[in-house]
């Protein structure tokens, strides 16, 4: 009896603690006026995704330069890594402590902030046609466009390309493939020449989705594909999906050495296989080009070439679409420092600073027009970004353009296709079921 009472008391105490923590939400502040003249004083907080080498110094240098220009401004940096930024952003959002400027991906992630009223509408200052807006490529701006309004400041662009070892191709006597079928055919000669044709590590799940989304863009008519990203209009029943999944399976079986065990291979292992001269090809983002050929790797920048993943013959979709998306920053709609935040981001995206970002060691191709040049950036980055700019359209990463339930279904589906535990049809059914749940 006594024990029961103590337990009840303990539970009640715990309950009270939880409840008192949840009580009371601060009233929403007035909407930020982003066009106002900035007052150069006070603290400006920024949440970046640039923690760790080699990116960390970029914002530190900029903050120091900005503070030197405006001595009454104190820039407070919260730098996170790709892994930790999701949890940090969620906690700061929930506790209404979101910084004045914060990092965002495109797609579903940014949309949540827009619909939640946490992203300031920047149309008046950054829409195409405005002075600031014209410094960016229009495609990067519209990646952050929702309901006709522009919210994001794109910092750098990104796209996915097949990087290859030109020497390996020469030794095996194969040319850069023009169709998906040629790519698969090239794998035999490359293997005979002693190379792993395509290095592929899918331990994290998302690398498979990068292949899939590019194949979807090729095989599925563009309007159908875009309708499928929204749970309300999605059907996920186009025959192009099944053929994409089949092509992906062929590629894994024929061109990788790891085959059905690819799910256990680290992304970095695959990256090192190309950098170390053991693999002939590796599917990668523009952001990685400079680290593949960095000092210490046996692949020199001269031996490194890139090509767009070739489209299958007679595919029904858009063969000129490239998978990729910019990443950028939003300004907190409730921030009292919004005008100053805009001013700081204008400073960050000045051509000079944008060029620094696009050059080694950072190698993040800025979304500012004219920042990526042959002189400042490496040849591969320049070539990749030119192709991104020339693409008919940019298709965002599959796990960021879909809602979380559907993205999870695709992640599981991609792994199942690789290991052979599910057929393309079964994977598509699980995606349809996930979509029905999300509606």
């Amino acid at each position: 009896m006594r024990r029961t009472r103590t337990l009840t008391l303990a539970a009640a105490a715990a309950g009270a603690l939880v409840l008192s923590g949840c009580a009371g939400g601060a009233p929403a502040g007035p909407a930020a006026d982003v066009t106002a003249e900035p007052a150069y004083e006070g603290t400006l907080s920024i949440l970046t995704k640039f923690a760790g080498e080699p990116l960390e110094p970029y914002f530190e240098d900029l903050a120091a330069a900005y503070e030197a220009e405006h001595p009454d401004v104190d820039v407070e940096l919260i730098q996170e890594t790709d892994q930790s930024i999701k949890d940090k952003t969620k906690t700061l959002t929930a506790s209404q402590a979101l910084p004045d400027i914060y990092f965002t991906w495109t797609g579903d992630w940014a949309e949540n902030f827009v619909t939640g009223g946490l992203a300031a509408d920047l149309s008046e200052v950054i829409a195409p046609g405005t002075e600031w807006g014209d410094t960016f490529g229009e495609a990067s701006l519209s990646a952050f466009q929702y309901d006709g309004k522009y919210y994001g400041i794109p910092l750098y662009n990104n796209g996915k390309f097949m990087g290859y070892n030109t020497q390996a191709f020469a030794e095996a006597g194969v040319d850069v493939p023009q169709t998906f079928e040629e790519l698969v055919d090239a794998c035999g000669p490359l293997r005979d020449a002693g190379y792993e044709p395509i290095a592929f590590g899918n331990k994290d799940g998302w690398p498979a989705l990068h292949y899939l989304q590019q194949l979807f863009a090729y095989n599925v008519p563009s309007d159908v594909l875009h309708a499928d990203f929204d749970p309300e209009t999605a059907k996920w029943d186009d025959p192009g999906y099944v053929s994409s999944l089949e092509q992906f399976k062929t590629l894994v079986d024929e061109c990788t050495d790891t085959g059905s065990g690819t799910n256990g291979v680290l992304y970095t292992t695959a990256q090192e296989a190309l950098a170390g001269g053991n693999a002939a090809m590796y599917y990668q983002e523009v952001l990685e080009f400079d680290s593949i050929t960095a000092e210490g790797s046996s692949l020199s920048p001269d031996d490194f070439g890139i090509f767009q993943l070739p489209a299958p013959d007679g595919a029904a979709g858009d063969p000129a679409a490239i998978e990729g998306a910019p990443e950028g920053y939003l300004i907190n709609a409730k921030s009292a420092q919004a005008p100053l935040a805009v001013d700081f981001m204008k400073f960050v995206t000045e051509l000079e600073n944008a060029k620094t970002l696009s050059a080694p060691p950072y190698g993040q191709p800025s979304a500012v027009v004219g920042a990526v040049t042959e002189e400042t950036s490496s040849r591969a980055v320049y070539e990749g970004i030119t192709k991104v700019n020339e693409a008919s359209q940019l298709v965002g990463w599959l796990d960021t353009v879909t809602v979380p339930e559907v993205a999870d279904a695709w992640l599981a589906g991609g792994e199942a296709i690789i290991s052979g535990s599910a057929t393309p049809k079964e994977v598509l059914e699980s995606v349809q079921a996930a979509n029905a749940d999300a509606q």
Partner: protein, 277 residues
């Protein structure tokens, strides 16, 4: 006699080979980590199990300079201070709960032990708001307060359970000899609780050294981040320099290993006499 000896020898061989196998299982991964700290990324991925080709300390120096020295300082500082505050406050609380008659004593015990049921993740959001309002967010004090507050219920629970069974006659004898409460606590009760105190100190050190969630949410920047969070910032989505990460992990593990060997005796004694009581 000779037969028994033969069987005994067989038994010994088995026991020895079993223990040796255990040593390999435990020591090899650690050794692998140390060795890979000497390689380059290409060597590591080219032949993960080979011995390093050279023994230069470049990666270790690199890791040290890339923030591990700061993370280590922060970790040591937070661990030491929060251990002292947690164990002392808990010991006082346990003494009060077991030796002092007070009104609503049961309620007070219930409230303190109720803290055990509060999952840290649940309290995260209100805590961030509170700490921001108080200006403690992203400071050393945030971690010190959180680690102390969240470990007091468990530590008090352990010490209280031990103190309840200590004979009250000793306290009474002290009282008869003219000792005040204060003296009784410091000179009589606390020394008698040594085994459980050692156990709680060890448990708290392990907790504070490895804690990730609070450290990740409440701090940013190299100056106050602790090792578990800091080491992840050595890794990136594309192109992690793994040998440097391994070197950082070795540096992070060293203090705990040294601590273990230095206090091995208390470790075993503390665990067997304290918790296994």
């Amino acid at each position: 006699m000779s037969r028994l000896g033969f069987l005994g020898a067989i038994g010994r061989v088995f026991v020895w080979s079993f223990l040796l196998a255990l040593v390999v299982v435990v020591v090899y991964p650690l050794l692998w980590m140390v060795m890979n700290g000497f390689k380059t990324n290409a060597e590591l991925f080219g032949d993960p199990f080979a011995l390093p080709l050279q023994l230069d300390w470049e990666n270790y120096v690199d890791a040290w300079n890339r923030g591990v020295s700061d993370y280590l300082t922060a970790s040591v500082l937070v661990t030491v201070t929060s251990t002292i505050t947690t164990v002392l406050i808990s010991a006082w609380a346990a003494y009060g709960l077991t030796r002092v008659r007070m009104p609503f004593g049961k309620v007070v015990s219930g409230v303190i032990l109720g803290g055990l049921m509060l999952a840290p993740a649940v309290a995260l959001v209100p805590l961030v708001r509170m700490f921001q309002a108080m200006g403690l967010y992203n400071t050393f004090w945030a971690l010190l307060i959180l680690y102390t507050a969240f470990r007091i219920p468990f530590t008090t629970f352990l010490i209280r359970a031990y103190m309840i069974d200590l004979p009250r006659e000793v306290d009474e004898a002290a009282e008869v000899d003219g000792a005040s409460r204060w003296t009784t606590f410091w000179r009589i009760t606390l020394p008698m609780c040594k085994p459980i105190l050692i156990s709680t100190v060890l448990l708290h050190i392990l907790f504070a050294w490895n804690e990730y969630l609070f450290a990740m949410v409440f701090t940013s920047g190299t100056s106050i981040q602790t090792l578990p969070v800091g080491l992840t910032s050595l890794m990136s989505k594309h192109g992690t320099d793994y040998p440097v990460v391994f070197a950082g992990m070795v540096i992070a593990a060293l203090p705990v290993i040294v601590l273990f060997f230095a206090t091995q005796r208390y470790f075993i004694k503390g665990l067997s006499e304290g918790i296994g009581k």
